[in-house]
Symmetry: C2
Amino acid sequence: MEIAILLYEQMTALDAIGPYEVLRSMPNAKVRFVAREKGIKHTDAGYALLNAEYALDEVTKPDIVLVPGTAYTQAMMKDAVAHEWLRQVHETSKWTTSVCTGSLILGAAGLLQGLKATTHWLAMDTLRMLGAEAVQERFVKDGKVITAAGVSAGIDMALTLVALECGETVAQAIQLMIEYDPQPPFNAGSPDKAPTAIVEMLRATQKIT
Amino acid sequence: MEIAILLYEQMTALDAIGPYEVLRSMPNAKVRFVAREKGIKHTDAGYALLNAEYALDEVTKPDIVLVPGTAYTQAMMKDAVAHEWLRQVHETSKWTTSVCTGSLILGAAGLLQGLKATTHWLAMDTLRMLGAEAVQERFVKDGKVITAAGVSAGIDMALTLVALECGETVAQAIQLMIEYDPQPPFNAGSPDKAPTAIVEMLRATQKIT
């Protein structure tokens, strides 16, 4: 089970590492952190943190593809080389997945046309413009394409993906090993639940570009 | 607000990246990924993934120290250089924190003597042997030391830490930006909740060494 996780400059680290920590524990999992150019990538906060061990042309038939997101989507939404790779691996992938605004990259590559999909709550309009039927869910499965909402949603998606691939017992064992028994200190994790003033403040200041 | 996150060989990536994604969004946060030797560290699953931009002697007065865990604790529990650094930064830190078996490293450095603390559910006995009063909670605050349970618990701890430092509005805004509205597909995230057969299987096969 080969799992390709796309890394790139200015990405959101947890979008990749949340699902990684779940998927890497599947039986026979081989994770390939892959990028246009191998080497260390900076996160959206500017830290030289995540290392891609593989270039795109070294990972051609992954079973699972995962595209993390970023608050700065412009470069990857215009990256024809990355899009071509995504279209190619999607032809043979068992699952093509994204977290957060990773779905905008899948959409820009033409892979979400007419599909139900989701993204970060601040990026729903852009997702719609890319031809997807945008729905605000924790994650959305349409055929073999699974898109997750913002950042932390990738963990929930990944556990569900493990259950689909390996059964519920394996998924539950992984959940228990990572003690995924979340106890958020506040009930503010979605725009429907957070205080309106905070939602409006973020809408005004945190544009996804 | 300087935040030092200790990286080392065979660490669990999400232990570091979960809290990182929360703490890095605090106003004026500067995260320093720090290790005995700068450079790329392998995760517990063998991937050359996380990069330390700083050596220990370059980060001497962090406000927050965070020690992630690993399933292979032996090397770090014997690492006198790392322990000396931890004791030194603990003298001036505002918060000294750990995720998962990171608390065993704090304990081996002598920093948990007589304190209430927690760790991964499979490592409670070891934590007790290191002089801590081991309690099974999502995270435990004793004075300025905050220890979190396994892997994903670091996210809950970090949001609480942000609330302590910056107030609830900032914490809620960060929670909403990472859409931390967890919807685990199973209720299996703690040994009290998971099916007994899975708990026993993991107790038999997943020793933390």
